[in-house]
Symmetry: D2
Subunit: 180 residues, 4 copies
């Protein structure tokens, strides 16, 4: 029985919408955490400064050493929540590719994890970034393919032509077939 | 040359996303106001109380007398902005049907207005309402057809299968053909 | 009978808190608009770009030509709402000093306006800016005195040692004595 | 060397402002989590429904069984973050009094924890609740004394007449004297 669902996808690919739909679709309660949960918990100077996470004008994201240390503790904490019995959905952007994923894999070792790739055509994601209006322009395009490089998944969904709720149902279907 | 664009559609139909894309698509600056702009300006007791706007558990919205009076002044103010030379996008939910629209028509009299219907299949809008997670569930379904009853438009877009940016481009295309 | 209350003060001086308390204190409904209402209505590129409003690292704010034009239309629109019968609270930062105020005075000509200075010690405002965590650091200090230079008011309140609600009651008291 | 700071206080007592100031005051990075972090991670139906957290019209808060289970996992996860080396500020409302605190004490066993009481006069907190405008009215008053009943602390601060930043400095001073 799956205890953790990790959604990996670029900015504006629709991960958090899928996470909320998963929470609505499952009869049991699932906690949903995103990259933003961690960023909001950081000191303001790490959110924007040199030691933390930086958003360049072209949408590229750089991450400093102190940020990485807190992130490791955060990942360990989320894993501990799952070990304590909570079902957890993690909404992530593997900017560092398989290395980013390996950090989660190590922390989640021994837990039943479903890895989900959330794809979205770069042009469509860029349009949605404009429509949201609250993001640095360019992140959607910069991340669309990058985060999926060399990655394999248990399930893949593509929000280009599929609604968040239907993606969530596909993921839930995979979980139930796996347990059946 | 259009001075005002009025977008009418149900909750979660995608109006504000289209408004932000229109702002990005047009070379000239347009102001965009939504129903939420007015609601945020109201006293807290009108936002939730009996004299103001109420959101029932089934998503139905009721509006009290004091709310209506402030809304009339707001509509007149937005019209005055357009008369003063600002290009304005209004994102509205005509819950009262043609009567709601008539209030705007009266205030915008003499201005060059483009009326846009923003449609979205009720089931799809309900899914997006879930995915947003910040709305009272049921509003999308309750409003999807209701707001378009007996309404005619200069342009209609449907977000069921069309992205916000493409809807915005279609509206911009109509404006430019009209002026051409 | 006052129709418009204009609150002028620096960033983090507590203007919007006073505005919300005024809305709670008055038995009649008042609309409250802030600088953020206008900024949120602007295209994203004007909010951060060269032609719009810019927030420098030291908290200084610069405003471009297109922003000014839309702001003039906005000011005229708010005045029209008051002329149409709405009671309106405006929460403003007169960065351009008496010139900024003159633009509002001209638009509000003939209306019964109460001008309120909202002061706050620069050090205290800077601490509150830190505590809010959502503002560019430095704006509170840069604006604390600047916005009150050469300004005269009908009422002045100081949030350094006085709660928002008590400031609101003092302003309401002035209005009622004026009408009495 | 303190690894966890737990701030306990009623709604609108100023806990999250103190948490952000602590993050600014400390040279090392601290993560800050609030009750809202957990609530935002919950399924929408638990946030408002019978099985989750409910906000009654008089500001009383009730919490259901499923909420409690997820909360236990959350508490364990935050403790794990501290064990993994992260410095963590927790901003809490001990509605269940010493029993609520005991759940955290058990999870944080063996860690160096500083317990902080954040007091605020009920009338002042109620005024600030009005000024914020985003909270159910009545929570500040209902919780002001309740959460401190039978509680002892390592440090106590009172935001009634003291700014968040000064409260944060007092807490930081306690930590440094303790380590000195």
């Amino acid at each position: 029985m799956a205890q953790v669902i990790v959604l990996n996808g670029g900015s504006s690919a629709g991960k958090s919408g899928i996470a909320r739909c998963l929470q609505a679709v499952f009869p049991e309660p699932w906690l949903a955490f995103g990259v933003d949960t961690l960023i909001d918990a950081m000191p303001a100077r790490l959110r924007l400064g040199e030691e933390g996470i930086g958003f360049a004008d072209d949408g590229e994201v750089t991450v400093g050493g102190e940020f990485r240390e807190l992130e490791d503790a955060w990942i360990g904490g989320v894993a501990a929540m799952a070990r304590a019995g909570a079902r957890v959905i993690v909404d992530e952007v593997f900017l560092g590719g398989t290395e980013s994923r390996a950090r989660w894999e190590k922390a989640l070792h021994g837990l039943d994890v479903v890895w989900v790739g959330v794809r979205c055509d770069a042009t469509v994601a860029t349009g949605r970034e404009l429509a949201r209006g609250d993001r640095v322009t360019g992140m959607a395009e910069a991340q669309a393919d990058l985060v999926h490089r060399d990655m394999t998944y248990d399930v893949e969904v593509d929000t280009t032509h599929t609604e968040s709720l239907d993606c969530a149902k596909a993921i839930a279907g995979f979980l139930s077939s796996k347990n059946g």
